[in-house]
Protein backbone atom coordinates (compact mmCIF):
# COMPACT_ATOMS: atom_id res chain seq x y z
CA UNK A 1 0.00 0.00 0.00
CA UNK A 2 1.64 3.23 -1.09
CA UNK A 3 1.43 6.20 1.23
CA UNK A 4 0.55 8.58 -1.55
CA UNK A 5 -2.81 6.99 -2.22
CA UNK A 6 -5.30 7.63 0.56
CA UNK A 7 -6.77 4.54 2.21
CA UNK A 8 -10.21 6.08 2.29
CA UNK A 9 -11.34 8.75 -0.14
CA UNK A 10 -14.79 10.23 0.26
CA UNK A 11 -15.92 12.70 -2.40
CA UNK A 12 -19.15 14.75 -2.44
CA UNK A 13 -20.94 12.04 -0.51
CA UNK A 14 -24.65 12.75 -0.30
CA UNK A 15 -27.58 10.99 1.37
CA UNK A 16 -31.27 11.70 1.93
CA UNK A 17 -33.67 9.80 4.15
CA UNK A 18 -36.97 10.87 2.66
CA UNK A 19 -37.23 14.60 3.41
CA UNK A 20 -34.18 14.60 5.69
CA UNK A 21 -30.90 15.57 4.07
CA UNK A 22 -28.67 13.46 6.31
CA UNK A 23 -25.30 13.94 4.60
CA UNK A 24 -24.58 16.96 2.43
CA UNK A 25 -21.86 16.50 -0.16
CA UNK A 26 -19.03 15.85 2.26
CA UNK A 27 -15.49 15.08 1.14
CA UNK A 28 -12.43 13.97 3.05
CA UNK A 29 -9.58 11.48 2.83
CA UNK A 30 -7.86 9.31 5.41
CA UNK A 31 -4.33 7.99 4.97
CA UNK A 32 -2.68 4.96 6.47
CA UNK A 33 -1.27 5.85 9.86
CA UNK A 34 -4.07 8.29 10.61
CA UNK A 35 -6.71 7.90 13.31
CA UNK A 36 -9.63 10.09 12.41
CA UNK A 37 -12.08 11.03 15.14
CA UNK A 38 -15.58 11.63 13.86
CA UNK A 39 -17.37 14.05 16.16
CA UNK A 40 -20.73 15.70 16.09
CA UNK A 41 -24.09 15.97 17.81
CA UNK A 42 -26.59 13.13 17.62
CA UNK A 43 -28.21 12.90 14.22
CA UNK A 44 -25.34 14.81 12.58
CA UNK A 45 -24.77 12.14 9.93
CA UNK A 46 -21.75 10.38 11.47
CA UNK A 47 -23.24 6.91 11.46
CA UNK A 48 -24.81 7.41 8.05
CA UNK A 49 -21.44 8.38 6.59
CA UNK A 50 -19.75 5.37 8.18
CA UNK A 51 -22.49 3.05 6.94
CA UNK A 52 -21.96 4.33 3.42
CA UNK A 53 -18.19 3.84 3.60
CA UNK A 54 -18.71 0.30 4.90
CA UNK A 55 -21.12 -0.44 2.07
CA UNK A 56 -24.23 -0.97 4.17
CA UNK A 57 -26.12 2.00 2.75
CA UNK A 58 -25.84 3.15 -0.82
CA UNK A 59 -25.08 6.85 -1.33
CA UNK A 60 -27.45 9.08 -3.29
CA UNK A 61 -24.48 10.86 -4.77
CA UNK A 62 -20.71 11.06 -4.60
CA UNK A 63 -18.12 8.31 -4.32
CA UNK A 64 -16.32 6.32 -1.66
CA UNK A 65 -13.06 4.58 -2.48
CA UNK A 66 -11.31 2.26 -0.05
CA UNK A 67 -7.85 1.01 -1.03
CA UNK A 68 -8.73 1.78 -4.62
CA UNK A 69 -12.05 -0.14 -4.60
CA UNK A 70 -15.17 1.84 -5.34
CA UNK A 71 -17.93 1.00 -2.89
CA UNK A 72 -20.67 0.99 -5.53
CA UNK A 73 -18.72 -0.78 -8.30
CA UNK A 74 -16.92 -3.29 -6.12
CA UNK A 75 -18.69 -3.53 -2.75
CA UNK A 76 -17.19 -6.93 -1.90
CA UNK A 77 -13.68 -5.60 -2.56
CA UNK A 78 -14.31 -2.72 -0.17
CA UNK A 79 -15.84 -4.95 2.47
CA UNK A 80 -12.94 -7.38 2.25
CA UNK A 81 -10.41 -4.66 3.09
CA UNK A 82 -12.42 -3.04 5.89
CA UNK A 83 -12.98 -4.06 9.47
CA UNK A 84 -16.28 -2.53 10.55
CA UNK A 85 -17.83 -2.25 13.98
CA UNK A 86 -21.45 -1.14 13.57
CA UNK A 87 -23.10 1.04 16.20
CA UNK A 88 -24.16 -1.09 19.16
CA UNK A 89 -21.89 -3.97 18.07
CA UNK A 90 -24.66 -6.28 16.80
CA UNK A 91 -23.88 -10.02 16.87
CA UNK A 92 -25.80 -13.27 16.67
CA UNK A 93 -26.91 -13.69 20.27
CA UNK A 94 -27.51 -17.42 20.22
CA UNK A 95 -23.93 -18.19 19.16
CA UNK A 96 -20.99 -18.64 21.49
CA UNK A 97 -18.10 -16.20 21.09
CA UNK A 98 -15.94 -18.95 19.63
CA UNK A 99 -18.57 -20.03 17.08
CA UNK A 100 -19.37 -16.49 16.11
CA UNK A 101 -15.72 -15.74 15.40
CA UNK A 102 -15.46 -19.01 13.47
CA UNK A 103 -18.31 -17.87 11.26
CA UNK A 104 -16.66 -14.50 10.65
CA UNK A 105 -13.32 -16.20 9.93
CA UNK A 106 -14.96 -18.54 7.44
CA UNK A 107 -16.51 -15.62 5.58
CA UNK A 108 -13.22 -13.76 5.72
CA UNK A 109 -11.62 -16.70 3.93
CA UNK A 110 -9.43 -18.23 6.64
CA UNK A 111 -8.67 -21.93 6.07
CA UNK A 112 -9.18 -24.39 8.92
CA UNK A 113 -5.69 -24.40 10.48
CA UNK A 114 -5.01 -20.69 10.08
CA UNK A 115 -8.53 -19.98 11.28
CA UNK A 116 -8.08 -21.62 14.68
CA UNK A 117 -4.72 -19.95 15.18
CA UNK A 118 -6.08 -16.54 14.31
CA UNK A 119 -9.19 -16.91 16.47
CA UNK A 120 -7.09 -17.97 19.45
CA UNK A 121 -4.85 -14.98 18.84
CA UNK A 122 -7.65 -12.43 18.63
CA UNK A 123 -9.38 -13.90 21.69
CA UNK A 124 -6.16 -13.34 23.60
CA UNK A 125 -5.61 -9.80 22.27
CA UNK A 126 -9.14 -8.67 23.11
CA UNK A 127 -9.24 -10.57 26.42
CA UNK A 128 -12.17 -12.80 25.65
CA UNK A 129 -10.75 -16.06 27.07
CA UNK A 130 -13.12 -16.16 30.02
CA UNK A 131 -16.27 -15.93 27.87
CA UNK A 132 -15.24 -17.82 24.75
CA UNK A 133 -17.81 -20.60 25.27
CA UNK A 134 -20.60 -18.35 26.48
CA UNK A 135 -23.42 -17.37 24.18
CA UNK A 136 -23.23 -13.72 23.16
CA UNK A 137 -26.71 -12.88 24.47
CA UNK A 138 -25.58 -13.70 28.02
CA UNK A 139 -22.62 -11.29 27.90
CA UNK A 140 -22.45 -7.87 29.49
CA UNK A 141 -22.42 -4.77 27.31
CA UNK A 142 -18.68 -4.39 27.64
CA UNK A 143 -17.96 -7.94 26.54
CA UNK A 144 -20.39 -7.66 23.66
CA UNK A 145 -18.59 -4.58 22.46
CA UNK A 146 -15.33 -6.48 22.65
CA UNK A 147 -16.78 -9.34 20.62
CA UNK A 148 -17.67 -6.71 18.03
CA UNK A 149 -14.09 -5.45 18.10
CA UNK A 150 -12.72 -8.97 17.74
CA UNK A 151 -14.99 -9.48 14.74
CA UNK A 152 -13.78 -6.25 13.13
CA UNK A 153 -10.10 -6.98 13.75
CA UNK A 154 -10.12 -10.68 12.93
CA UNK A 155 -8.71 -10.39 9.41
CA UNK A 156 -6.23 -7.69 10.45
CA UNK A 157 -7.72 -5.13 8.04
CA UNK A 158 -5.68 -2.08 7.15
CA UNK A 159 -8.80 0.06 7.18
CA UNK A 160 -10.88 0.13 10.36
CA UNK A 161 -14.20 1.86 10.85
CA UNK A 162 -15.70 1.83 14.31
CA UNK A 163 -18.95 3.46 15.31
CA UNK A 164 -18.68 4.41 18.98
CA UNK A 165 -16.25 1.65 19.97
CA UNK A 166 -16.12 2.70 23.62
CA UNK A 167 -19.81 3.44 24.16
CA UNK A 168 -21.11 1.68 27.26
CA UNK A 169 -17.71 0.53 28.47
CA UNK A 170 -16.44 1.17 31.98
CA UNK A 171 -13.37 3.41 32.41
CA UNK A 172 -10.94 0.51 32.49
CA UNK A 173 -12.40 -1.05 29.40
CA UNK A 174 -12.32 2.32 27.65
CA UNK A 175 -8.67 2.61 28.47
CA UNK A 176 -7.99 -0.88 27.09
CA UNK A 177 -9.79 -0.18 23.84
CA UNK A 178 -7.96 3.11 23.39
CA UNK A 179 -4.64 1.43 23.99
CA UNK A 180 -5.58 -1.21 21.45
CA UNK A 181 -6.45 1.43 18.87
CA UNK A 182 -3.25 3.38 19.53
CA UNK A 183 -1.16 0.23 19.10
CA UNK A 184 -2.70 -0.48 15.73
CA UNK A 185 -2.60 3.08 14.53
CA UNK A 186 0.83 3.17 12.89
CA UNK A 187 -0.01 1.19 9.76
CA UNK A 188 -3.80 1.35 9.54
CA UNK A 189 -6.28 3.96 8.48
CA UNK A 190 -8.82 4.22 11.29
CA UNK A 191 -12.08 6.13 11.65
CA UNK A 192 -13.82 6.17 15.00
CA UNK A 193 -16.93 8.08 15.91
CA UNK A 194 -17.36 9.22 19.46
CA UNK A 195 -19.20 11.53 21.80
CA UNK A 196 -16.35 11.52 24.24
CA UNK A 197 -14.16 14.44 23.39
CA UNK A 198 -11.25 13.36 25.58
CA UNK A 199 -10.98 10.35 23.27
CA UNK A 200 -9.87 12.71 20.53
CA UNK A 201 -6.85 13.66 22.60
CA UNK A 202 -6.26 10.09 23.67
CA UNK A 203 -6.20 8.37 20.30
CA UNK A 204 -6.88 10.60 17.32
CA UNK A 205 -4.35 12.24 15.03
CA UNK A 206 -7.11 14.19 13.34
CA UNK A 207 -10.68 15.22 14.03
CA UNK A 208 -13.65 16.00 11.83
CA UNK A 209 -16.69 17.69 13.29
CA UNK A 210 -19.88 17.09 11.40
CA UNK A 211 -23.29 18.59 12.15
CA UNK A 212 -26.50 18.56 10.14
CA UNK A 213 -24.71 16.57 7.45
CA UNK A 214 -21.89 19.05 6.85
CA UNK A 215 -18.24 19.12 7.83
CA UNK A 216 -17.65 22.09 10.13
CA UNK A 217 -14.09 21.34 11.14
CA UNK A 218 -11.26 19.19 9.82
CA UNK A 219 -7.89 19.36 11.53
CA UNK A 220 -5.61 18.07 14.25
CA UNK A 221 -6.73 17.95 17.89
CA UNK A 222 -4.33 20.86 18.48
CA UNK A 223 -6.03 22.98 15.86
CA UNK A 224 -9.39 22.09 17.32
CA UNK A 225 -8.24 23.21 20.74
CA UNK A 226 -7.05 26.49 19.25
CA UNK A 227 -10.62 27.31 18.34
CA UNK A 228 -11.36 27.88 21.99
CA UNK A 229 -10.13 30.85 24.00
CA UNK A 230 -9.63 28.54 26.94
CA UNK A 231 -7.91 25.94 24.73
CA UNK A 232 -10.50 23.46 25.83
CA UNK A 233 -11.81 20.80 23.43
CA UNK A 234 -15.32 20.77 24.87
CA UNK A 235 -15.55 24.50 24.51
CA UNK A 236 -14.23 24.38 20.95
CA UNK A 237 -16.75 21.69 20.06
CA UNK A 238 -19.61 23.75 21.46
CA UNK A 239 -18.50 26.86 19.63
CA UNK A 240 -18.24 25.11 16.31
CA UNK A 241 -21.47 23.13 16.53
CA UNK A 242 -23.73 25.73 18.09
CA UNK A 243 -22.67 28.61 15.85
CA UNK A 244 -24.06 27.18 12.69
CA UNK A 245 -26.78 24.88 13.89
CA UNK A 246 -28.89 26.68 16.43
CA UNK A 247 -31.15 23.65 16.67
CA UNK A 248 -28.48 21.68 18.47
CA UNK A 249 -27.76 24.23 21.21
Amino acid sequence: MSDIKPAIAVASLDKHYGPIHAVRKISFTVNHGEVLGFLGPNGAGKSTTMKMIAGFLSPDGGTVTVNGHDVVEDPVGVKASIGYLPEGAPAYGEMTVQRFLQFIAEIRGFKSQARDVRIAEIIRTINLESVRDQTIETLSKGYRRRVGLAQALLHDPDVLIMDEPTDGLDPNQKHEVRTLIRNMASDKAIIISTHILEEVDAVCTRAIIIAAGEILFDGTPEELRARSDRRDIDDAFRRITTNQTAGYA
Binding site: A54, G55, L57, K79, P90, E94, M95, E106, I107, R108
Partner: protein
Protein backbone atom coordinates in the same frame (compact mmCIF):
# COMPACT_ATOMS: atom_id res chain seq x y z
CA UNK B 1 -20.01 -20.84 -2.81
CA UNK B 2 -17.87 -20.74 0.34
CA UNK B 3 -19.92 -17.80 1.60
CA UNK B 4 -23.24 -19.48 0.87
CA UNK B 5 -22.09 -22.53 2.81
CA UNK B 6 -20.86 -20.48 5.77
CA UNK B 7 -24.09 -18.49 5.96
CA UNK B 8 -26.20 -21.63 5.60
CA UNK B 9 -24.29 -23.38 8.37
CA UNK B 10 -24.62 -20.42 10.69
CA UNK B 11 -28.31 -20.17 10.05
CA UNK B 12 -28.96 -23.89 10.60
CA UNK B 13 -26.95 -23.74 13.78
CA UNK B 14 -29.18 -20.84 14.80
CA UNK B 15 -32.31 -22.97 14.38
CA UNK B 16 -31.00 -25.79 16.52
CA UNK B 17 -29.52 -23.69 19.29
CA UNK B 18 -32.91 -22.18 20.09
CA UNK B 19 -36.16 -24.03 20.85
CA UNK B 20 -37.54 -22.95 17.44
CA UNK B 21 -36.33 -26.07 15.66
CA UNK B 22 -37.59 -28.54 18.23
CA UNK B 23 -40.96 -26.90 18.66
CA UNK B 24 -41.43 -26.79 14.92
CA UNK B 25 -40.47 -30.40 14.34
CA UNK B 26 -42.62 -31.73 17.18
CA UNK B 27 -45.66 -29.74 16.07
CA UNK B 28 -45.13 -30.72 12.44
CA UNK B 29 -44.91 -34.43 13.25
CA UNK B 30 -47.85 -34.25 15.62
CA UNK B 31 -50.04 -32.45 13.09
CA UNK B 32 -49.14 -34.75 10.21
CA UNK B 33 -50.09 -37.65 12.50
CA UNK B 34 -53.47 -36.17 13.40
CA UNK B 35 -54.29 -35.24 9.83
CA UNK B 36 -53.28 -38.59 8.43
CA UNK B 37 -54.94 -40.87 10.95
CA UNK B 38 -58.00 -38.95 12.12
CA UNK B 39 -58.91 -36.48 9.40
CA UNK B 40 -57.50 -38.53 6.54
CA UNK B 41 -58.81 -41.88 7.83
CA UNK B 42 -55.58 -43.68 7.03
CA UNK B 43 -56.74 -47.03 8.43
CA UNK B 44 -60.36 -46.90 7.41
CA UNK B 45 -59.44 -46.40 3.77
CA UNK B 46 -57.82 -49.81 3.75
CA UNK B 47 -55.38 -48.79 1.04
CA UNK B 48 -51.63 -49.11 1.25
CA UNK B 49 -50.68 -45.63 0.15
CA UNK B 50 -49.82 -42.32 1.76
CA UNK B 51 -52.35 -40.16 0.00
CA UNK B 52 -54.08 -39.01 3.21
CA UNK B 53 -50.65 -38.08 4.55
CA UNK B 54 -49.50 -35.98 1.61
CA UNK B 55 -52.89 -34.41 0.92
CA UNK B 56 -52.61 -32.28 4.01
CA UNK B 57 -49.08 -31.04 3.41
CA UNK B 58 -50.07 -27.86 1.54
CA UNK B 59 -52.36 -26.87 4.44
CA UNK B 60 -49.82 -27.64 7.12
CA UNK B 61 -47.10 -25.80 5.24
CA UNK B 62 -49.42 -22.86 4.82
CA UNK B 63 -49.10 -21.83 8.43
CA UNK B 64 -45.95 -23.65 9.57
CA UNK B 65 -43.49 -22.59 6.89
CA UNK B 66 -44.22 -18.84 6.99
CA UNK B 67 -43.36 -19.18 10.68
CA UNK B 68 -39.91 -20.46 9.70
CA UNK B 69 -39.45 -17.97 6.89
CA UNK B 70 -40.60 -14.92 8.86
CA UNK B 71 -37.39 -14.80 10.85
CA UNK B 72 -35.03 -15.08 7.88
CA UNK B 73 -34.61 -11.34 7.38
CA UNK B 74 -36.95 -9.63 9.84
CA UNK B 75 -34.91 -10.84 12.77
CA UNK B 76 -31.67 -9.61 11.22
CA UNK B 77 -33.21 -6.19 10.78
CA UNK B 78 -34.65 -6.11 14.25
CA UNK B 79 -31.44 -7.10 16.04
CA UNK B 80 -29.24 -5.04 13.71
CA UNK B 81 -27.15 -8.05 12.67
CA UNK B 82 -28.10 -7.31 9.06
CA UNK B 83 -25.58 -4.47 9.25
CA UNK B 84 -22.93 -6.94 10.32
CA UNK B 85 -23.85 -9.49 7.67
CA UNK B 86 -24.07 -7.00 4.82
CA UNK B 87 -20.71 -5.40 5.65
CA UNK B 88 -18.95 -8.74 5.48
CA UNK B 89 -17.48 -9.49 2.04
CA UNK B 90 -20.54 -11.36 0.75
CA UNK B 91 -22.96 -10.49 -2.02
CA UNK B 92 -26.65 -10.05 -1.31
CA UNK B 93 -27.33 -13.13 -3.43
CA UNK B 94 -24.92 -15.21 -1.29
CA UNK B 95 -26.80 -14.21 1.84
CA UNK B 96 -30.26 -14.74 0.33
CA UNK B 97 -29.41 -18.17 -1.05
CA UNK B 98 -27.53 -19.26 2.09
CA UNK B 99 -30.41 -18.35 4.35
CA UNK B 100 -33.01 -19.89 2.07
CA UNK B 101 -31.06 -23.14 1.81
CA UNK B 102 -30.81 -23.34 5.60
CA UNK B 103 -34.58 -22.99 5.94
CA UNK B 104 -35.13 -25.50 3.16
CA UNK B 105 -32.76 -28.06 4.65
CA UNK B 106 -34.47 -27.57 7.96
CA UNK B 107 -37.87 -28.30 6.43
CA UNK B 108 -36.32 -31.33 4.70
CA UNK B 109 -35.18 -32.62 8.08
CA UNK B 110 -38.69 -32.23 9.48
CA UNK B 111 -40.10 -33.99 6.44
CA UNK B 112 -37.56 -36.81 6.68
CA UNK B 113 -38.57 -37.39 10.29
CA UNK B 114 -42.01 -38.49 9.10
CA UNK B 115 -40.34 -41.77 8.00
CA UNK B 116 -42.22 -43.89 10.60
CA UNK B 117 -45.36 -43.45 8.57
CA UNK B 118 -43.57 -44.81 5.54
CA UNK B 119 -42.43 -47.80 7.60
CA UNK B 120 -45.97 -48.25 8.90
CA UNK B 121 -47.53 -48.36 5.46
CA UNK B 122 -44.88 -50.81 4.26
CA UNK B 123 -45.54 -52.99 7.27
CA UNK B 124 -49.29 -52.99 6.71
CA UNK B 125 -49.30 -53.56 2.99
CA UNK B 126 -47.39 -53.25 -0.23
CA UNK B 127 -47.48 -49.62 -1.29
CA UNK B 128 -45.89 -48.31 -4.46
CA UNK B 129 -42.73 -46.86 -2.99
CA UNK B 130 -41.88 -45.01 -6.20
CA UNK B 131 -45.09 -43.02 -5.80
CA UNK B 132 -44.22 -42.27 -2.19
CA UNK B 133 -40.74 -41.09 -3.15
CA UNK B 134 -42.21 -38.89 -5.85
CA UNK B 135 -44.64 -37.41 -3.35
CA UNK B 136 -41.83 -36.66 -0.91
CA UNK B 137 -39.92 -34.87 -3.66
CA UNK B 138 -43.05 -32.91 -4.56
CA UNK B 139 -43.65 -31.99 -0.95
CA UNK B 140 -40.07 -30.78 -0.56
CA UNK B 141 -40.29 -28.67 -3.71
CA UNK B 142 -43.54 -27.17 -2.53
CA UNK B 143 -41.94 -26.37 0.83
CA UNK B 144 -39.18 -24.56 -1.09
CA UNK B 145 -41.84 -22.47 -2.83
CA UNK B 146 -43.46 -21.49 0.46
CA UNK B 147 -40.09 -20.61 1.99
CA UNK B 148 -38.96 -18.52 -0.98
CA UNK B 149 -42.17 -16.48 -0.79
CA UNK B 150 -41.70 -16.11 2.96
CA UNK B 151 -38.09 -15.03 2.51
CA UNK B 152 -39.11 -12.16 0.26
CA UNK B 153 -41.86 -10.97 2.59
CA UNK B 154 -39.50 -11.22 5.54
CA UNK B 155 -37.02 -8.94 3.77
CA UNK B 156 -39.71 -6.26 3.55
CA UNK B 157 -40.29 -5.74 7.25
CA UNK B 158 -38.57 -5.79 10.61
CA UNK B 159 -41.72 -7.16 12.24
CA UNK B 160 -41.90 -10.93 12.29
CA UNK B 161 -45.64 -10.86 12.94
CA UNK B 162 -46.27 -8.84 9.78
CA UNK B 163 -43.90 -11.09 7.86
CA UNK B 164 -45.84 -14.12 9.05
CA UNK B 165 -49.31 -12.80 8.27
CA UNK B 166 -48.46 -11.41 4.84
CA UNK B 167 -46.33 -14.44 4.00
CA UNK B 168 -49.16 -16.81 4.91
CA UNK B 169 -51.66 -14.72 2.94
CA UNK B 170 -49.55 -14.80 -0.24
CA UNK B 171 -48.96 -18.53 0.17
CA UNK B 172 -52.71 -18.98 0.63
CA UNK B 173 -53.32 -17.27 -2.71
CA UNK B 174 -50.79 -19.53 -4.37
CA UNK B 175 -52.33 -22.64 -2.87
CA UNK B 176 -55.83 -21.63 -3.83
CA UNK B 177 -55.24 -19.95 -7.16
CA UNK B 178 -56.76 -22.91 -9.00
CA UNK B 179 -59.97 -22.72 -6.96
CA UNK B 180 -63.20 -20.97 -7.98
CA UNK B 181 -63.02 -18.57 -5.00
CA UNK B 182 -59.90 -16.98 -6.45
CA UNK B 183 -60.72 -17.45 -10.13
CA UNK B 184 -64.19 -15.90 -9.74
CA UNK B 185 -62.52 -12.64 -8.82
CA UNK B 186 -61.01 -12.53 -12.29
CA UNK B 187 -63.70 -14.31 -14.31
CA UNK B 188 -65.83 -11.22 -14.83
CA UNK B 189 -63.23 -9.04 -16.47
CA UNK B 190 -60.04 -10.93 -17.27
CA UNK B 191 -59.42 -12.74 -20.56
CA UNK B 192 -59.49 -16.53 -20.42
CA UNK B 193 -55.74 -16.71 -21.09
CA UNK B 194 -54.98 -14.77 -17.91
CA UNK B 195 -57.35 -16.95 -15.91
CA UNK B 196 -55.58 -20.03 -17.19
CA UNK B 197 -52.27 -18.54 -16.17
CA UNK B 198 -53.55 -17.80 -12.67
CA UNK B 199 -55.02 -21.27 -12.38
CA UNK B 200 -51.68 -22.74 -13.44
CA UNK B 201 -49.98 -20.97 -10.51
CA UNK B 202 -51.76 -23.22 -8.05
CA UNK B 203 -49.48 -25.15 -5.71
CA UNK B 204 -52.21 -27.75 -5.34
CA UNK B 205 -52.47 -28.69 -9.00
CA UNK B 206 -48.72 -29.05 -9.39
CA UNK B 207 -48.28 -30.86 -6.12
CA UNK B 208 -51.17 -33.27 -6.53
CA UNK B 209 -49.88 -34.70 -9.79
CA UNK B 210 -46.37 -35.20 -8.38
CA UNK B 211 -47.81 -36.74 -5.22
CA UNK B 212 -49.68 -39.27 -7.33
CA UNK B 213 -46.39 -40.38 -8.78
CA UNK B 214 -46.66 -38.47 -12.04
CA UNK B 215 -43.39 -36.59 -12.33
CA UNK B 216 -44.06 -34.16 -15.11
CA UNK B 217 -41.17 -31.92 -16.05
CA UNK B 218 -43.53 -28.94 -16.12
CA UNK B 219 -44.42 -29.38 -12.46
CA UNK B 220 -40.75 -29.55 -11.49
CA UNK B 221 -39.93 -26.51 -13.61
CA UNK B 222 -42.86 -24.66 -12.05
CA UNK B 223 -41.52 -25.04 -8.53
CA UNK B 224 -37.90 -24.34 -9.47
CA UNK B 225 -38.84 -21.19 -11.37
CA UNK B 226 -41.11 -20.10 -8.54
CA UNK B 227 -38.31 -20.50 -5.99
CA UNK B 228 -35.79 -18.65 -8.18
CA UNK B 229 -38.24 -15.86 -8.87
CA UNK B 230 -38.97 -15.19 -5.19
CA UNK B 231 -35.31 -15.43 -4.22
CA UNK B 232 -34.49 -12.90 -6.91
CA UNK B 233 -37.28 -10.70 -5.55
CA UNK B 234 -35.69 -11.02 -2.10
CA UNK B 235 -32.37 -9.76 -3.47
CA UNK B 236 -34.15 -6.83 -5.13
CA UNK B 237 -35.99 -5.93 -1.92
CA UNK B 238 -32.77 -5.96 0.11
CA UNK B 239 -31.01 -3.84 -2.50
CA UNK B 240 -33.83 -1.31 -2.47
CA UNK B 241 -33.82 -1.15 1.33
CA UNK B 242 -30.09 -0.47 1.17
CA UNK B 243 -30.93 2.76 -0.63
CA UNK B 244 -32.62 3.84 2.62
Amino acid sequence: MRNIKAIMKRELHGYFSTPVAYVFIVIFLFMTGIFTFYVGSFYERNQADLEPFFNFHPWLYLFLLPAIAMRLWSEERKTGTIELLMTLPVTVADAVVGKFLAAWIFSAIALALTFPIWITVNYLGEPDNAVILSAYIGSLLMAGGFLAIGSCVSALTRSQVIAFVIGAAICFLFVLSGFPMVLNLFQAWAPQALIDVIASFSFLTHFSSISKGVIDLRDLVYFVVLILFWLYATVVVIDIKKGG
